[in-house]
Subunit: 268 residues, 6 copies
């Protein structure tokens, strides 16, 4: 049966019941509403998660749950418009959504995080706990541009951190009217002077020895007053397209593997 839509919220419960006769995979896109510098909209991370989920779903015919628009963004709260969930709230939402999906018979659920890394403590906590204590038979996975796009990172011209060239390009490709090209910053925050040499300026690059330093929103406002950490002046819709398609290709490959995966994880 061809789905009328990959989005669960557009279907009736009978449509979903039909889908579950032959399918058991669902995708959950998790984003954030968080400042992304002077050129990017607050929804960048959500648009990323939604685009990856939707396009991977269309290619593979799997269902996507409605997106979560809010993520774990305390360190951006000094910038108007940022909406941040406490980590425990994020954990609770994601657990409840996955519990609901599992209740209906979804057996393999892929969380797609658009919020590079920052949501991961909450998302990992939710998935690990559910899989050990509540849903041992439900396969859970977590995909994130920060880890999914290492192989394509070479297309960028600058180091990539918050509001960087690639994530700006990504939204530019998908929602051209939401980027303000004239405001793309060309400055670069050098995090190693701020948080020691054991810090990595490039989330998508190679990393040496690192020690994680925590910064809060007031500190961030001080060291990155326009909200962007990275030079995104070389961002472009074309780069966004290449970046997006690379990640979709990886996700499709993973979903295809998952369809036939027969354990020991998720197939026991």
């Amino acid at each position: 049966m061809a789905l009328r839509s990959v989005w669960l919220q557009e279907l009736t419960w009978e449509d979903v019941a039909d889908y579950l006769k032959d399918n058991d995979i669902a995708i959950l896109p998790v984003g954030s509403t968080e400042q992304h510098g002077p050129a990017g909209p607050l929804g960048v991370d959500s648009y990323a998660a939604i685009a990856l989920a939707e396009d991977a779903a269309k290619e593979t015919g799997v269902l996507v749950a409605p997106p979560l628009w809010y993520g774990d963004s305390p360190h951006h709260l000094e910038f108007p418009g940022t909406i941040s969930l406490r980590t425990e709230t994020l954990v609770a939402v994601v657990k409840d959504v996955i519990r609901s999906l599992a209740h209906h018979g979804f057996k393999k659920i892929i969380v797609i995080n658009g919020h590079k890394g920052s949501n991961n403590p909450g998302l990992i906590t939710a998935c690990r706990s559910l899989h050990e204590y509540e849903l041992p038979d439900v396969f859970l996975a977590l995909a994130d541009p920060m880890y999914l796009a290492k192989g394509i990172a070479h297309i960028k011209d600058a180091v990539e951190h918050h509001a960087g060239e690639l994530e700006i390009s990504h939204v530019w490709y998908k929602h051209p009217h939401l980027i303000k090209p004239e405001k793309l910053p060309s400055n670069q925050v050098d995090l190693t002077t701020i948080m020691s040499e054991f810090t990595n300026n490039d989330l998508l690059g190679k990393s040496g020895d690192t020690i994680e330093v925590f910064w809060n929103s007031r500190e961030q406002k001080a060291f990155a007053p326009n909200g962007s950490f990275s030079d995104s002046s070389k961002a472009s819709p074309e780069k966004g397209k290449t970046y997006h398609e690379y990640m979709v290709k990886n996700l499709v490959k993973f979903i295809e593997w998952l369809r036939i995966n027969n354990g020991p994880v998720g197939g026991m």
Copy 2:
């Protein structure tokens, strides 16, 4: 300044900072992902909240936060596709979103609930607690079709309960392709035989003496096997338009009052 969009997620943080120079109202739409019978999509309540928020915002020039697609729907969990948050999770999300908005200087926040009544225990809990203990200076209000549309309920032909004529009409008007007209049920569940005479079949009608009886998802599946409680065979996009515009008009009137409200609630 004219906003490029009423949706906060489409703006940059600088756009929001500009808005806050002269404005302090925000709307938060809260929906659900929950079965709505054989003809309505799972997203009915979210589409309702989003449409009300967006159109009231456009008329008044206020900002809308990204919607919450999941609500408090345990009693529908036997129908595939329903996603339900625990009440405490809903409380936590709404508190965190409102805290974030208040942090930026939003002083008047209107929660629009699309999920007739069912989200209200959580939404009231969040708002009441925040306003007493954390945000005494932030005005909080809760609007809901179940209470906002009493005056227009006379346009319907049937009693209105879950998946009823008016909420189906509402989505039909806004998203015609998401309704399956050929599946609109004409049966009516008589709740007074199931939950005593102290039950009201019509959420939008007049009510006599009532006692609330709690039913769970297995019981609901038994007494309403197709998921709809109400006859929606007389639903139509036209009715949806009338219903929608009536509620938007009420919301606009409320927002206009709110702009000039000078306490004692919210203006002290």
Copy 3:
């Protein structure tokens, strides 16, 4: 067997074991300790719940659990003597009490709330969650004067809101020495000027389109300095008696229905 008392706390465990051989209904009265203006005692809501529970129990021979004297009253905290539970505390208490009763074999539990509406978010949250996730086979219901007495509201002379004519009359009838007649206020707070036209001054009257506005204790102290929202100068023990007996009659009718109720809710 005739019970020595309808109050569970006055019986031995063996008495309760005997009762459970042929019965499975229990009533839980939930009140509040909250200012009720210059004429009414802080315990008004608790006295209401206790009186309704006790008299309905006596007529039907069912057991009553000990009352909860504290409710969800944050908005009254500026008035000395008010004791307020956080909503989550109220939820926890009510869940634990119901779990205990269910553990012993009570299968049908009626919560009687004396605190017109204000406890309901917590009480609904507790009951709905228990019935879906923990006690699917235990019938739970919630009765409240605000919904139980619509049909008798016509006896009052004034609009009825907090500390109104009927609830004062109710306690006056049951505990004459606890009312100070000389202090009954004749003023009326017009909530529509304070919280917009979408507010209803009469909790027991008809309502048009409404939007809920949240007020906190400091705001309430400002707009209702004596603690009463309503004119209760026409209160009387006679009205209290009529009001009380009407509600007891409704409760008795409900309990009689419940004895023979055979599902689908609570009888599966």
Copy 4:
């Protein structure tokens, strides 16, 4: 000013405001609803706390908050009628009540526990945490028959444990119709054979070296099938009177000390 009643719930908020002009002490009685063998009512512990609070208050002119009828009684849940709060629920209730009292200006609060020892983990947790982190200037104390009556314990004829001679006598004195004298058990459970020699059979007696062993409700049902641990055949209203008056005298002495206490605890 003479109070019309020592019970806060019987007063108006203005009465409490008057009281607070010259006074700052309140008593909070905490009981339980828990089986007390074949002869004692489920409310024994609550009656004990209420009686101690009321009589000490009458002698000293201090106010008493409404009682909490439920306590921490998981180990009695196999006996019908027992209602048990989780410890965290008890903590939450007691914290909320004390926070409310402190908000109004009560500066010295005495919790009277009727549930010998069993409520203490929760009560201590609530008081210690509040006093350190939230209410450093509010004096908090905890009185309990198990510690308050050591000096009068010699009047009993048997060792005293759950449902023992003295607590039965206590209720007998105060509520004669609630005891079933013909059912007073004369057997004694020897806890040292069940939980090792490091156990004390007499909660009100001298104790040697002890190690606490935890038993649950199923185990208790096995080792004390009638619910009583102690021989209460020598209980009498007279003993109850002596026991009660001794404890009231201690409480009065403590309250008198507290009135003039000038720190360093509670008077800084």
Copy 5:
């Protein structure tokens, strides 16, 4: 099989698997990191719990879980170095550790608390709740010097309260280099003048009628500026040895009883 070590953390999982073939007892030492006056190290309570656990284990051949170094010490927080867990955190840790041990087949677990009394509300809460609701078949016990050493308390020369003669002696015996003998205080805080006559100066002595008064860290700093409540000038390693061996002997006796205990508690 002789264990290579009584400490679980020094063994491999296969060693533990071997142990569990013939054994089912484990000990969990719980201490605190809390000021113990000018002469005692912050770890006194942890050293006490560790020493008791280790030596009782060596004599009986049972396993010891790694110690918890932090306890419930809010009232000491004004003294640098004190680390205090919230009671609910302590409950959570102890529950998780016991759940893990029970998962592997440990059926009898003895918690040894080195923190005289102060950890007990949390430890009792954890054990009682686990044993009633989650682990009805796992025997749980709690040993504490405050109750374990009544019979040897006569060897001390002073009353014993916080940082008293016996607990200082205990650590002196086991870790001589951690005591500063030249700083042993000879003053004694008279708690009865500070917290009423219903207070006991000697935690290891006889007690009359008592009422518990809660003090916080600022108050404690005021009434016991050097951190010690008791005269410990007569402390000595020899007393520590006698005290330690007496408690170990009691623990060994208890463990021997436990090996052959056949219910009804823990043997059903």
Copy 6:
């Protein structure tokens, strides 16, 4: 002043007060008690954290808080001896310890995690939340062998995952008697066949595009029956020494930077 010990628990509160006159850095070692294959003790991760903390502290003269012996290890629970905290428990403990240290005036706290990666969701959650919402002026950092030793990973002969060559070597160097050399496994679990090609077999090596797959303890027992994922047959105390000293050198360098760090993070 030279510290008598780098371990806080060995000092008196006066020693800590002295330290704080000129210093404000503390280290908190966090480990786990978790199976590490047939050759490694359950305490491997704790020994790693303790050794790194102690040796870095000795070189720099900073204080170390007592270690936490338990971590977040649900996926190892099928192996006897593993003790796992829920993530929320770990968060609570670490928050309470850091709050206590900050209360005394420690302004820069370094958490050293010995449990490669697995504790990080909890540790990041604790630190990020504290630094944003409670302790904006306290510098918090997180060091972990998985990120601290990239530059020395080339000394190993095999890919490194759970119970791998380097962490076994690490403990072997520090606690030679705790390793069973004859049991060192030479097999290697190929995780890419189990969890897709988007998995990395080498936690200390380079990584391509990855998607995180969650496995539970039963699945792990199936795919790694002896508990080790990696070939550790080439482990040696010498490698452990090189690995350890490299990480200590990095930590010392970081602490030296931290002493003179003047913001914007941690120095504002």
